[in-house]
């Protein structure tokens, strides 16, 4: 056990932990301001914002000897007996000098700078800078140039921390960004003809401690202080990056990665970052409807339990009386397709509901959208080909409930052999062409055919379809139920690495839409509002595969397999 002294506080660190001054100080609750250091990148110690005093405490005599000059905290390892002083006059002066120097060449852009409000230069200046300006410099606005399709550079706002440059070298691996010129004329740039173009490019904007790098997608769409942050999980692929949804009045403005050492570290891919647009698409299905005698009738959500009861059991019941439970005197053959976009909780509730009517109801896994191949980056970040967030979760639930996982294809075959009386199909798939940030056509043949024709074998069943967008299935349904997007749901996804992450809704669904969880909750006659936490407790209690999911789920999620061993 090593003991480090921070401003007189003794902090214990593990023997195998390799921490620098900034990190141990953070453990002691002391913030050391820093620009160039980032836990996910190499150390360059170039900004000098993190200067601290350091020294050593002699293990035997307990005597402390300090180094005469300041050292960068980001580059100074903490060992047993290391002493850091972060609040001395000398340190304060050094910080004020760094701030003053940075502001000599800084434009007066805060009012139009997207970073204002979350800018380190602003915050640090407020806290550590000099109260007044000594240099007499005329205010000016920043020059701007585009670095690529996604990112723009406000040249003069840059503080030359080189985080962005190191990111493209060490994490995304394409090394598009570089520093040109020297001394006070240093600038970030790309080589002519080689724009910043990689699938992680949006991360440089988050990395930039100031407003030098701007996200072209987000640019000027909202001031940051108007937005509320909600922890969530990206539904773009089965990596399931931890994200933060930033929203104002139920409108998403941007997604940002949330630190999670087990999944995405500090990053997320552009596909996920810009792939949420479909949530606010006007083409979304918004109205529940039912087909009566061949004509569409609007369906009121309050009548839904009775109508769904009739569709599943084949028996009518008046909307005034709540439908009798477990009654299926006609022994109808039922099936439910659980989409890999459903959360574990929602899939469990739907399965429970269907099985109330038919104990042997067939449960199948929804279609798994695939695009290309898995793509890994030098630091291990992987974008998966499986473009859905919860295949593992639904699979685990299915094998727990049925002992087997019936795929969409086998389900269709089975349906073609002996048609079901009623089938409940859940969707939630992003629109066929819309999930790719670059807007290229990523639809597979299967997706295209699903958009136009109904799979054989389903035509004779009573179809209950719950989806986000119009498709052949949707048009052929007997009951259409609009579905909620991932940011509108609460629940848990299990990613490709068996890590279960829980999240709460970030925005409310558009008018007319009831989230899956709320609908199933109501169908099962549970009291009050849908509570994902309680459902997950039930799942964890009933199914050994989910045993690790009981109790509070940490913000970084829980590994379902690993945690079962301990």
């Amino acid at each position: 056990m090593a003991i480090v002294l921070i401003d007189g506080q003794e902090i214990e660190i593990g023997d195998d932990e390799r921490l620098n001054g900034i990190q141990v100080a953070a453990r002691a609750g002391v913030e050391v301001p820093h620009y160039c250091w980032h836990p996910g990148l190499s150390v360059v110690a170039s900004c000098r914002m993190c200067l601290v005093e350091t020294g050593k405490r002699d293990a035997d005599s307990g005597e402390i000897s300090m180094l005469p000059k300041l050292v960068p905290g980001c580059q100074t390892p903490a060992r047993d007996g290391t002493v850091f002083v972060t609040d001395s006059e000398k340190v304060r002066q050094a910080r004020a000098m760094v701030e003053e120097d940075l502001l000599i060449r800084h434009p007066v852009d805060c009012p139009i700078c997207d970073k204002a409000g979350e800018c380190h230069l602003q915050d640090y200046h407020f806290e550590h800078g000099r109260p007044e300006r000594r240099a007499d410099i005329k205010p000016f606005h920043s020059r701007r140039r585009e670095l690529g399709e996604t990112v723009t550079l406000f040249v003069d706002r840059c503080v030359m921390c080189t985080r962005c440059v190191r990111f493209t070298r060490e994490v995304s691996g394409d090394a598009e960004l570089m520093v040109v010129h020297r001394g006070a004329h240093e600038e970030i740039d790309v080589f002519p003809g080689f724009p910043l173009e990689n699938k992680l490019s949006g991360n440089v904007v988050d990395l930039c401690p100031v407003g030098a790098l701007g996200d072209l997608d987000f640019l000027y769409s909202q001031r940051v202080w108007f937005m509320k942050q909600h922890a969530s999980v990206c539904a773009g692929c089965s990596t399931g990056c931890s994200i933060q949804v930033e929203e104002n009045q139920d409108r998403i403005h941007r997604l940002k990665p949330r630190e999670n050492p087990h999944v995405n570290q500090w990053w997320m891919c552009d596909e996920g970052r810009y792939g949420w647009k479909y949530v606010h698409d006007n083409a979304r299905c918004l109205a529940p409807q039912q087909k009566t005698e061949g004509a569409w009738q609007p369906l009121d959500w309050s009548d839904a339990p009775a109508v769904l009861h009739a569709a599943l059991s084949g028996e009518n019941c008046s909307p005034e009386n709540s439908p009798p439970k477990n009654s299926n005197p006609k022994k109808r053959r039922l099936a439910a397709v659980l989409s890999p976009f459903l959360t574990v909780e929602e899939a469990y509730l739907l399965a429970t509901y269907i099985r109330q009517y038919d104990e042997n109801a067939v449960l199948a896994l929804g279609r798994i959208p695939q695009a290309g191949a898995d793509e890994s980056f030098p630091n291990g970040f992987t974008i998966r080909a499986e473009k859905c967030p919860n295949r593992r979760g639904v699979e685990m639930l299915l094998s727990a409930l049925t002992g087997d996982v019936l795929s969409w294809e086998s389900f269709l075959e089975q349906a073609a052999e002996t048609p079901f009386d009623a089938v409940w199909i859940t969707g939630g798939y992003p629109p066929v062409n819309g999930n790719d940030g670059a807007g290229e056509d990523v639809a597979s043949e299967e997706e295209k055919s699903l958009a136009t024709e109904l799979p054989a074998g389903l035509a004779s069943s009573t179809l209950i379809v719950q989806d986000l967008f119009d498709s052949a299935l949707w048009r052929q349904a007997d009951i259409q139920l609009p579905s909620a997007a991932f940011v509108e749901r609460s629940g848990s996804f299990v990613n490709a690495g068996n890590r279960l992450q829980s999240f709460e809704w970030a925005i409310r669904p558009p008018a007319g839409v009831m989230t899956e969880g709320q609908l199933y909750w109501r169908l099962l006659d549970r009291d009050g509002l849908y509570n994902a936490r309680r459902v997950l407790e039930d799942v964890a209690r009933e199914h050994i595969a989910f045993a690790a999911a009981s109790g509070e789920i940490p913000a970084t999620g829980r590994d379902l397999l690993l945690n079962q061993l301990v």
Binding site: I104, R105, P107, V108, D109, C110, P111, I112, A135, I137, K138, P139, F140, H141, S142, R143, R144, R145, D156, V180, A184, H185, E187, D189, V190, P192, L219, Y220, R223, W225, F226
Partner: protein, 197 residues
Amino acid sequence: MQATDPDIQWVEPPKLGLGERMYLPLFLQGLTTTTKHLVSAKVTVSYPDQEPEIDNPLIYRGVHRLNRDEQGRVKCVACFLCATACPAHCIDILGVESPWEDREKYPESFTIDELRCIFCGMCEQACPVDAIELTSLYNLTGRSREEMIFDKEKLLSVYDATKDKEPMKSAQLPPVTTPSTATPSTATSTSPTEGGA
């Protein structure tokens, strides 16, 4: 808000003394004020036949205007600080990239709901470029609610109508230097600080 909220301050009504309970002293105090005004000079004017005189238009808080810059374009840079400061939430802005070379951001639309406004002047105080100002126009009327939601054009027209009588309050401040226009990649641009340093 719950009754246990720490932000709630509970106050007790002050205890009344004997004099206050008898009403008489306060009654006399009130009557004295009334009598004073009965005999002193009149301050009321018979509006609308007679227009009131505004002492200092610079501090009067009437209808808003959006100022124009030297080239006649809206001066506002769409920073949303006025909307942030506004306690009545009556300012609605849509900020986009500006169509001009020398400016980065501008309000594509800018509306103030004058009916909701409480004329506190916080927007004017918050504005970093002195684009929004409250004029001394006080006779604000309209035939419908919609008419009272002033858009950018209307707010600019208020400026045009009042600019001669009430010059821009910041007219004496030095203008911000225009930025060097965006340079193509890695061109040998001179740092804009050189001129000023």
